[in-house]
Every structure is written in C-alpha cells, then in structure tokens.
C-alpha cells in the first residue's frame, strides 16, 4: 500500500520501473532537442544540425561531450548552495509527476499486475498539479542563487507567469473532473475507451465509429488547458522568463554546462507532462480509437489465436504504441508552435492569463456543470 509492493520481487520491479521511466524521460530530452533543432530548421527553411552522423543524429552525443568538458562555474556574487541545488531540484517535479501518467494497460501475470507507469496515484490530477507547482521553487532558487538581477528578474517573471496560468490550468481541469467524476487518470482513460456514447435526459446517443474522447465534450477546456500548459512549461509564445532581448536568458543566465542541461531536462519534462495529460484528459490516453482494452485483447486472442497471456502482452505493446503516437504528436505541436508564434509582451501575457483565460475557464466550468446537471437531473 504505502510502500512499493508486497514482496521483494514486486518492490524490485517497481523500483526498476520508476528508474526506467525516469531514464526514458532523460533520454527523450536529447531526441527532442534534436527534433527541435531539425524541426526549426525545417520550418525556417534551413538545414539545422546535419554534420555529425546521419541527419545529425550523433549531434546529441557531441553536445553531451561538450557539456561534460565545460569547466564548472559559479558566480561569486551568488549563493553557491542554492546555485547548485536548483538544477538538481529541476529534475525532480517533472519526473515524479510524469510517472503518474499511465502509458499502457497493465500487464497481468498470474501473481502480479504490473502497471505500465511509474506508479498509480488515485488522486492523480491533484498529485500532478501539486507536484508540478513545486517547479516554481527551482526557478526562484536558480534566480536568487545566481546573484544576478537578470536572473532574479527572470525568476520572478517566470514564477509569476507559472502561478498565473496555474489558475486557468486548474480551472480548465475542473471541467474534466466534472466529466469523468474522478481524480484517477486510469479511470479517466477507461471512461474514454470504446465508442462514442453520450447520455442525456435518460437517452443514450452512440456512434460506434467515433472514439469517446474528452475533446468532444470539452473542446474549450482542451484549448485552455493546452495554452496554459504552454505557459506552465515556459515555452514560446510564453517564454517571457528568458526573453533574450530583455533578460539575456532569464533565470539560467549564469548557468552553463551540465547544470544548464538539467534545466533543459526539467523544461522538456514539463512539456512531456503537458502532452501526457493532454492525451490522457482529452484524447483517450493509451486507448485505441473507439475500442476498449478488453476489445483489443480479445481481438488479438481471436485473430492471432494466441493465449490470453500473449494477447495481454500484445495488447500492452499496442496500447503503448498508441499512447506514444499521440504523445509524440503533442510534443511536435509544442515544437511547431514554438517556431511559429512570436513572443507575447509581459502585460499581454498577464492579461491573457487573468482576463481572458480565467474567465473562459470559469465559463467552461459553469457550462459543463450546467449541462451535466440538466442532462442527468431531468430524466424524460
């Protein structure tokens, strides 16, 4: 219950699993960096990294070597303890929060059930929100520890921005919670699995060809959530925290080498959480188009005529692939938007967060609640 399992084997598996997920995240970062550089080059009609290895793929390794050989630097004016702590703490919230996102159906063996995620948290949304709200400390620690006013300014801006958009984010999620009636991400995915069906006034509308995804019920919520997620991960068009023209590089002005890389891992980690949550809330999570996990497993068992055990494994792989595809699409959208849209001005950013997105999210909540209330309270 509280710990990681009932037997030594399970504990070991769970420990390895969490470490594995963490390293998957860490490994994804160089790939994303490469993707981002190639993608930006593609968008801007230039080449991008293409010298080291095929398509510049080995560029990542070269970068890593470069980072490792940089000499370790800390400004004298700053606070060395905080300066060194900040990058380490940058890794933590992103990784811990990401592990709560389910990536595939559980793998069921005779005596154990393995979840294809770091761990299952039954108040998933609240947990993820709570953990990712800790990211502000990293930024403030970095900004303060650097002892530079650019850093401090960038840190304050970044944290003010993060907390401002956390409101819109949190409120957009209320619609999702209302819709599924749970905090648990796995239950949400289950609610979205299978064909489209919608109950109102005691009647049920079904469409067997369409998936039952949340985006059909919460389009406004999805847009708000996604936009807020951009701001939460300090990505363009919301990267005011490091607006080069004003603040050099924001809170990591004084950072370089591996410490800088760790901040990047944190930032990309937030991006991954946002994509993962987007998929989970609005696009059915790991579930395959208009099919429930049970359907999929049955299909494997029937068409390939394999045992349930094998079908389960195949189903796990299929769902994981499905999740990865959806996940990758959103990551790509993140990258694409970054190289498409210009940066906001700071007052525009705050106005957007407080005066546009928050009221819209409120309206979304009220309308969702009203529709749910009216359609399920009055049975015709």
């Amino acid at each position: 219950m509280l710990s990681m399992g009932n037997s030594t084997f399970e504990i070991a598996i769970n420990a390895v699993k969490t470490i594995l997920v963490f390293f998957m995240m860490v490994q994804a970062v160089p790939i994303l960096v490469w993707l981002e550089r190639r993608g930006s080059a593609f968008i801007q009609n230039r080449f991008g990294p293409n010298r080291v290895g095929p398509l510049g793929l080995i560029q990542l390794l070269a970068d890593a070597v470069k980072f490792l050989t940089k000499e370790d630097f800390a400004p004298e004016a700053g606070n060395r303890f905080l300066f060194y702590c900040a990058p380490v703490f940058a890794l933590i919230p992103a990784a811990i929060a990401y592990m709560a996102i389910p990536m595939s159906v559980p793998l069921v063996t005779e005596s154990y059930t393995f979840l294809i995620q770091g761990y299952e948290v039954n108040v998933g949304i609240v947990f993820i929100l709570g953990i990712s709200s800790l990211a502000a400390y990293t930024i403030l620690m970095a900004g303060w520890g650097s002892g530079s006013k650019f850093s401090l300014m960038g840190a304050l801006r970044a944290s003010a921005q993060i907390i401002s958009y956390e409101l819109a984010l949190g409120l957009a999620i209320v619609g999702v919670i209302l819709l599924y009636g749970t905090f648990n991400l796995t239950e949400m995915i289950h609610a979205q699995a299978g064909a489209f069906h919608f109950s109102a006034f005691g009647y049920t509308i079904t469409a067997p060809w369409a998936p039952n995804w949340g985006i059909f019920y919460q389009p406004v919520g999805a847009i708000l959530f996604f936009a807020a997620a951009f701001a939460e991960s300090n990505r363009l068009p919301f990267d005011l925290a490091e607006g080069e023209a004003e603040l050099v590089a924001g809170f990591h002005t004084e950072y370089g080498g591996f410490k800088m890389l760790m901040f990047f891992i944190g930032e990309y980690g937030h991006m991954m959480i946002a994509s993962g949550l987007m998929v989970t809330f609005y696009f059915g999570g790991y579930s395959i188009w208009a099919a429930t996990p049970a359907d999929v497993q049955q299909w494997f068992a029937d068409t390939l005529s394999v045992s349930n055990q094998v079908a389960n494994i195949l189903s796990v792989i299929a769902h994981f692939l499905c999740y990865t595809v959806k996940f990758a699409i959103f990551l790509w959208i993140f990258i694409h938007v970054r190289w498409t849209l210009p940066r906001f001005r700071y007052d525009q950013l705050m106005d957007l967060g407080w005066k546009t997105m928050l009221p819209w999210a409120l309206a979304n909540t009220i309308i969702t609640a009203t529709v749910i209330f009216v359609t399920s309270y009055f049975i015709l």
Binding site: V88, G181, G257
Partner: protein, 123 residues
C-alpha cells in the same frame, strides 16, 4: 498511494542529479579565475555596478497573493466536481449545483472586482 515509490524515486533523482553535478565538476574541472570579470554576474559586456536592490514591481507579489486566493477557490471546486455526478445520482444534485453556483458568483464577483480595480494591470 505509492508513497514509498515517490520517495524512492525522489531520492534517486536527487542522488542522480548530484552525481551529474560532481561528474561535470570532475570532467570539466573547476573554473579557473583568469580575471575578476569572469566571476562577476553577467552584465552585457560592461562592468557591473553590483546593485542588488533593484526596484522590482510590487505587481509580482500582488499577483502571487491573488493567485493564492483564487487557487484556493478553485481547489474547493475539486471535491465538488469529482462527486457531482454521484451527487446527482443520489438526489442532492440541485442542492449541490445551487451551492456551488453561489460560490462561483462570489468568485466571479471577486475576479470582476480585481479586473475593474486595475489590480491586474501591468504597465
């Protein structure tokens, strides 16, 4: 809730990060003090005046305060939202709906007031 797992991976990542810091220190070496300017804080190529008490807009902290207050109001909606359907099923839906709508009216009034009083204006 897998509290043990969370704590385990937290400690693991912290250890891993520290390891990375030390690894980089080992491979890259400590920065050699070739000049004082190298260790000063960054200042666009001119000599830093090193005044830390820069004026920073009070808006930042005002934003943070307002964030806290609105955040709590949003948090109050969570248990309501996650149980709204089951409340409707058990017949207290109208009551729940009305009570939250009253709360939302207060919320909206607060937001409206803040916007109107230009507390959220950045200039």
């Amino acid at each position: 809730m897998p509290l043990g797992g969370v704590i385990f991976i937290t400690l693991f990542i912290a250890a891993f990060g520290t390891f990375l810091i030390f690894l980089a220190r080992w491979t890259g070496g400590k920065a050699k003090k070739t000049s004082q300017a190298k260790f000063d804080v960054y200042e666009c190529g001119i000599i830093g005046e090193e005044k830390k008490d820069t004026k920073i807009s009070v808006k930042f902290y005002l934003t943070a305060i307002l964030f806290i207050l609105f955040d709590i109001e949003i948090i109050f909606m969570y248990p309501w939202a996650s149980n709204f359907k089951s409340f409707i099923a058990s017949g207290v839906g109208l009551y729940m709906f009305a009570s939250m709508m009253i709360f939302l009216v207060i919320f909206i009034f607060g937001l409206w007031w803040e916007i109107r009083s230009k507390a959220l204006e950045w200039d």
